[in-house]
Symmetry: C2
Subunit: 274 residues, 2 copies
């Protein structure tokens, strides 16, 4: 399939799943993607470039770097480019890359690699639907030291253009995978990793964090309905962020960030931290 | 001006500022707005209702409640309604209300009302531009016990439809005001309230939080450029959320939430919290 047609097609989830490809657009995001490709974490398939990219020296350097890596680079008109882009201001560069596929056992790697007693945090997304929320969570998870992210059915496609954009490169560095609740529960059970869930009625996370085991999975639920019944039933502990009565709940990305912050690995704690 | 024309007009910032009005749409948000109006925190001006609202009993009850409060309620066609609405699925209800105007002295009220030693947190937005980020920050600030929010020039209009929507009602309960950096600095100086700023190179907030004074203002900067020079110069301390090298920075709403969480008032801390 021609690169332009393919890029247009990849705006649909079904096409992304069938082709195993996703699209990244914009100078900064593509620079980040290129770094991940050089590190061997992502495989690139091709690039679309519009004349606009050459208007800045940073853009021209990126154009050269893409071609210099032996990647097929198709130069198209600004109009054709826009027909494939997801945003109104895509800066004239768009790259197609393979969705990194991680089996469930990927979750075992950080557990096996950790020194005895070192904290390993796995994040579980159980029906997070808004792509901006999902991307913000992925970015926060990468920054707060989560080792991997498992997405359960009902979660937004983590490789949609808007999630990729909101994640600001975090998706290229953090292993993500999709899994059923049953398979996840079986894996966590066998690995001896407890699952904590975020829920409004849970105990304050600050108190619970003091008793957190070295290896821990943390589940965040849907924006409207919270955790699904299957995941909730598998949680050994429910935790929450205490709130004033002025709001009903926190945004799920805010809740996820505060929970991951409270449960962050020692490397992200200063000498004076509690 | 007719209610329908006025509602359409209010989608522009200039019109909102000239009229001193803003628009809230959707069943849940309008319910929240109605509660704030009954509590005397917001003054309503009128409502637009489309036939769609009557399709659910919750919508019909809201329709009745709006009319029952003596508010002018204009019933319009679905098409006219959509011409004034900001979202694609506005649920057939939209209310015009007065922007609550708070003078700078508003910031003094929670300081004066606090018991000796009780924590008062003021949030300063210095150029936060994305309406989704601003709304998420307002919602988090209300939940995490901030007493008021001051927006400096360059910050998105907090009364735009998208901020109101993302704030999920928090805007109706949390005093907000706009102010210049000079006026803010003069006020904080006179009140003896130090200003801390969020900056990537700042010290970890967890350590700083242990030394936080009872009354404290915290400034968050622009998504791309961080704090402006004027605000940065006025900060007595710069704080940050420690991050792995996988991300360049946190989303500003994530950073704001974690900072406000670390600095939260005692009422939101459990007996076991650090």
């Amino acid at each position: 399939m021609r690169l332009l047609t393919l890029a247009r097609d990849l705006r649909r989830r079904k096409a992304r799943e069938r082709q195993g490809l996703f699209v990244t657009e914009g100078v900064r995001a593509v620079e980040e993607l290129l770094r991940a490709a050089i590190a061997g974490r992502v495989t690139l398939r091709g690039a679309l470039v519009a004349p606009e990219l050459g208007e800045t020296s940073r853009g021209a350097a990126l154009h050269a770097a893409l071609g210099g890596n032996g990647l097929p680079v198709l130069e198209v008109s600004g109009r054709d480019f826009l027909s494939a882009a997801d945003t109104d201001a895509p800066q004239g560069v768009l790259v197609l890359a393979e969705v990194p596929t991680h089996p469930l056992e990927t979750l075992a790697a950080p557990l096996a690699a950790a020194r005895p007693g070192a904290e390993v945090r796995l994040l579980v997304l159980d029906g997070v639907q808004d792509p901006g929320n999902a991307g913000t969570i992925l970015r926060a998870a990468a920054g707060l030291g989560a080792a991997a992210v498992a997405a359960l059915p009902g979660t937004v496609d983590l490789w949609s253009a808007k999630v990729v954009r909101s994640a600001m490169g975090a998706l290229f560095h953090l292993p993500t995978l999709t899994v059923t609740p049953d398979a996840l529960a079986a894996f966590l059970g066998e690995a001896g990793v407890p699952l904590w869930g975020a829920a409004g009625e849970g105990e304050p996370v600050a108190g619970a964090a003091a008793e957190a085991p070295p290896a821990l999975a943390v589940a965040l639920g849907n924006e409207g309905h919270g955790l699904g019944a299957a995941v909730r039933a598998g949680c050994t502990r429910l935790v929450s962020v205490p709130s004033t009565p002025l709001v009903e709940s926190f945004n799920v990305a805010v809740a996820a960030s505060i929970l991951l912050y409270e449960l962050r690995p020692a490397a992200l704690r200063g000498p004076r931290d509690g």
